[in-house]
Symmetry: C2
Subunit: 463 residues, 2 copies
C-alpha cells in the first residue's frame, strides 16, 4: 500500500500564505527558495497587501486563487493559523504545511488540537506545526527557509528538531551529501515519522533514510514500518534523549515524551534500524550508503601505507563486530612482486610509507576485481612520496576504469592538501574521511546493514 502522500512531494500547485516582500520574513524566504530552487509547478503567493512578490502575481486569499491547490504553506503566526486552515479546507487544499511555532511545544495543546480537528473535517493533512518546511529534490522543490542550494541525491533526512535540522541542511552541503528530501516534522500533529517511513521506503529516489527523533506519537506503528523499510533500504536513526537527563531536556523542548532509553535501543535494534548517536557519524554513514552498492559478502580488505592507521581501523572494525579475514592467496601473490620485502601482506595490506600512487592503483584495482573481496577500505597517511590530491585522482580513475562496483571507503590523514583530496573524492561521490576511524566506521555500517537485512529477511519469512 502506498502512503497516499505523494502529492505533498510532487505537487502541481503550491500556495504560500503569508508570502512577504520583506526579505527578513520567513514568508519571503520560503517563497524565494521555492522559486530559486527551480520548482516547475505553479506558485501562488497569498498576501492581501501585495499585488506581486518576486515576480509572481499575489492573491489576497486562498479562495481567490483560480486553480486547485495541492499544498498550502502557512507562513503566518500561530494565532492566525486556525482561520487560514479553515480557508484552506474550504478551498480543497490537500496538504497544509504549518510553519509557526507556539503550539504544543510551549504547552499550547489546545491550539494544536484545533488544527487537527479542522484538518480532519476537510480530509486535509498537516505537516508541522513548528517546522522549517520541506524539500523534495526530484520535484525541484525547496519549501524551507533554510539554505537554497541543497544538493540533489538519494538521502532522505527527516528531523523533529527545527534549528538543528536546518543547520544540518547546511552541514550536508558542506559535506557534499546530496539529498532526495529534507522533512521538518516538528510537533507531528498529523503527518509523522510513520507516514514518512512509508513514503520514503517506497520512494525510488531515496536510497537511505536518516531520521533525527526525540519522541514518537505512534511507537508501535513506527517500529513496524521501520522493519518493513529496513528490509529494502538502510534507516539510520539518531535518537536524541538517550539518557535520563537528555530525555528530560528533550521533553522540556518538544513537549513529547521521549521514552525509556533502554526500551528504545532494543526496539530500534529489533526493527533493523541503524542507531547512531552523533550527527557526524550519522552523516558519515549516510554518505557511504548513498554512494556505495550493497556488499555481496563480509570479506573486507584494508589497504594502507601506514601500519598505525591500519591498526586503528582494525580496532574500530573489531569493536563493531567485524573481523578481518586474510586476503585471498592470488591477491597476495600478485602484489608481492611489487612490494618491498618487509611489507605486510596480511589484512591490513601494508604498502608501507614508500607506497606510490601507482602501487595504490594496482592494489586497489586488483582488490576491486578479485571475487574473494567484498568491500575495501583504503587508508592513506600523508607522506612526501605521494601527493594526496594525485592519489585521490588515481583512486577515482581506478574506480572508473574498473567495471566491478564494490563498497569502498577512503580514510586520508594529513594537512591542508589532504583535506583538498578528501573534498575532491566526496564531490565525486567517493566516501572519504579525514581519519582512519571515521572511514572504518562508515564501511563497518555497510557490512552491518547487510547482516541486518539478512536477519530481517529470515525473521519475516519465518513469520
Amino acid at each position: 500500500m502506498r502512503s497516499g502522500i505523494e502529492r505533498l512531494f510532487n505537487p502541481t500547485s503550491i500556495a504560500i500564505v503569508g508570502a512577504s516582500r520583506d526579505p527578513s520574513k520567513i514568508g519571503h524566504k520560503i517563497l524565494k527558495n521555492i522559486i530559486d530552487y527551480g520548482f516547475r509547478g505553479k506558485i501562488y503567493p497569498v498576501n492581501p497587501k501585495a499585488e506581486e512578490i518576486l515576480g509572481f502575481k499575489c492573491y489576497p486569499s486562498l479562495a481567490s486563487i483560480p486553480d486547485d491547490i495541492d499544498v498550502a504553506i502557512l507562513a503566518i503566526p500561530a494565532t492566525l493559523t486556525p482561520s487560514a486552515l479553515e480557508e484552506a479546507g474550504r478551498k480543497g487544499v490537500k496538504f497544509a504545511v504549518v510553519i509557526a511555532s507556539g503550539f504544543r511545544e510551549v504547552g499550547n495543546f489546545e491550539l494544536e488540537n484545533m488544527l487537527v480537528k479542522i484538518a480532519r473535517k476537510y480530509d486535509m493533512r498537516i505537516l508541522g506545526p513548528n517546522i522549517f518546511g520541506y524539500v523534495y529534490t526530484p520535484s525541484k522543490l525547496n519549501a524551507t527557509f533554510g539554505p537554497t542550494n541543497v544538493l540533489q541525491g538519494n538521502v532522505a533526512f527527516l528531523t523533529q528538531s527545527g534549528a538543528l535540522g536546518i543547520a544540518l541542511m547546511g552541514y550536508s552541503i558542506a559535506e557534499s551529501i546530496g539529498v532526495s528530501a529534507v522533512v521538518s516534522l516538528g510537533n507531528k500533529c498529523d503527518l509523522d515519522d510513520v507516514d514518512m517511513l512509508e513514503f520514503f521506503g517506497d520512494d525510488e529516489n531515496t536510497g537511505v533514510i536518516l531520521i533525527y527523533i526525540e519522541g514518537l506519537n505512534r511507537g508501535r506503528a513506527f517500529m513496524d514500518a521501520l522493519m518493513r523499510v529496513s528490509l529494502r533500504k538502510p534507516v539510520i536513526v539518531i535518537k536524541a534523549g538517550r539518557t535520563e537527563i537528555g530525555r528530560k531536556a528533550a521533553a522540556s523542548h518538544t513537549g513529547s515524551l521521549a521514552g525509556s532509553p533502554v526500551i528504545w535501543e532494543k526496539a530500534l535494534k529489533q526493527a533493523g534500524a541503524i542507531q547512531i548517536n552523533d550527527v557526524e557519524t550519522a552523516f558519515d554513514v549516510a554518505k557511504a550508503f548513498a554512494w556505495s552498492p550493497h556488499p555481496q559478502g563480509d570479506r573486507l580488505l584494508i589497504i594502507t601505507n601506514g601500519g598505525g592507521a591500519g591498526v586503528q581501523a582494525t580496532d574500530t572494525l573489531a569493536e563493531k563486530g567485524i573481523e578481518l579475514k586474510p586476503p585471498p592467496h592470488e591477491y597476495v601473490t600478485n602484489l608481492k612482486a611489487l612490494l618491498p620485502p618487509f611489507a605486510s601482506l596480511a589484512n591490513p595490506v601494508d604498502l608501507t610509507g614508500q607506497a606510490s600512487e601507482e602501487l595504490y592503483h594496482h592494489a586497489l584495482r586488483e582488490a576491486l576485481q578479485h571475487p574473494g573481496i567484498d568491500a575495501i577500505l583504503v587508508l592513506y597517511c600523508q607522506t612526501a612520496v605521494t601527493e594526496p590530491t594525485v592519489l585521490a585522482e588515481k583512486i577515482l580513475l581506478t574506480l572508473r576504469e574498473t567495471e566491478v562496483k564494490k563498497p569502498l571507503a577512503v580514510g586520508m590523514v594529513g594537512g591542508g592538501e589532504t583535506r583538498k583530496a578528501i573534498s575532491f573524492l566526496t564531490s565525486n561521490k567517493v566516501p572519504a574521511y579525514p581519519t582512519p576511524e571515521r572511514a572504518a566506521n562508515a564501511i563497518a555500517y555497510l557490512l552491518i546493514y547487510a547482516k541486518i537485512r539478512e536477519n530481517l529477511a529470515r525473521k519475516l519469512s519465518i513469520i
Copy 2:
C-alpha cells in the same frame, strides 16, 4: 629528578649524517626542515661526497667536525648505522637519532641490539630506530622529514607509529593545533615513553601530552610515570591494538607485544590517563586542554539556539558521567527579560532560533562572570537570524572583554560559512567544533580530568 634528556630538545649543535643534496632524500628533507624552521644552534651536514648543502659547509665525517655535537641525526640505511653509531660514540655525541627502518619491526632484532650495545658503551642515548625524527618548537627545532610549518603551542605529541604520526603532524596544522613537541618513538630501543613522560611532565612549555601507543617495553615504569605526570597535566593516550584482532595487527606491525586490552584499560585508568580511542577525538580534546584553563568546579552551563543541539550535547555529557545542574537563579533572572517567553531557562539555556549575536554576547558574558558557573558550552545552529562568522567574532570579543577565564567549547553546526567561523575561532585559540557532540566531548574531558587529578592527589596523599 629531571630526566637528563633536555639536551636532546635544546641542543647547541646538530649533525645530520647522510645529509644529501637530492631533495627526494630523507637526509635532505630533515636538514632542510631544520634550517627552514629556524633552528638557532649550529648545524653540521655530514656527507663525504659534498662540500656544501643548502648553504651549510658539509663535513666528510662526524670526526672531522671541529665542535662538540649534542645530537647526531643518522639519516642513512640500517646496515650503515652501527659503524656511524660507533663514530658518534667516539666523537662524544650525546644523542643519536636513528631514522632508518629495517630493525626489530622486520624481525632484525640482532641489528637493533647491536645499536643498543654500542650506545651503552659510549653512554650515548638513542631515539629510534624506525622514526621520522622529532620537533621541539621552543628551540625552533624541526628535525623531521614531515611538514615544515608545524604550529608553535603547548601540546606534546609522542607517537610510536611513523606514517600515521607524520600524517598527524599535518592534521594538527589543519586543525590549528600548536605543539611544543612531536616525537617519533618508533622501535624505542633506548629512549621510550617513560623518558618522554618524565621530560614533558616537567617541561613548562608543555601543557598537555598526547601519546599514540601500540606497545610498551617498560609497562610498570610507564604507569608510575603516567600517574606522577597526570597529577600535573593531562595525558591523553590513544591505545592502538585495543581489541584482540587489533593487537595482532599491531604486533605484526611493530614486533612489540601489545598487551591484553582489558589490562591496558584498567592500568591506564588507574594511572590517571585519559584514554581516547580515535585520533579525531584525541586531537579535539588536546585542543581544548591546550587553550583552556582548568575548571574550578563541575558546574557546566550550555547555551544554545537550538533545542536539538542542546539535547545531543546533554546526552553526550551524560554518557560521560557529567550531569547538568540548573543554572544559578540570578543568571536566569538576568537573562529572562531579554528572551522570548517560550525560551527554556533550564540547562541547556535555549536562546531559541531567534537568538541574535547580541543575545549570545549577553548570555555568554554573564555566564563568564557568574561565580556559580565553572565551564561553558556554547552551541549554535546556523540560522538566517545570525551570521556564523559575525557570531564567532562576537564570541571572541566577549572572551576578550571579560577578565574571567573559564573553560569553554563552541559547537557550530551549519554549512560553509559555519566552517569559516570555526576556523576563525580555532585560529584564535577558542576550541570550536562542527557538531554539538564533538564540542560536548571536548568540554567533558576537561571536567573529567579535573576529577581525575583530584582523585590522584587524594590517593597519593594517602600513600
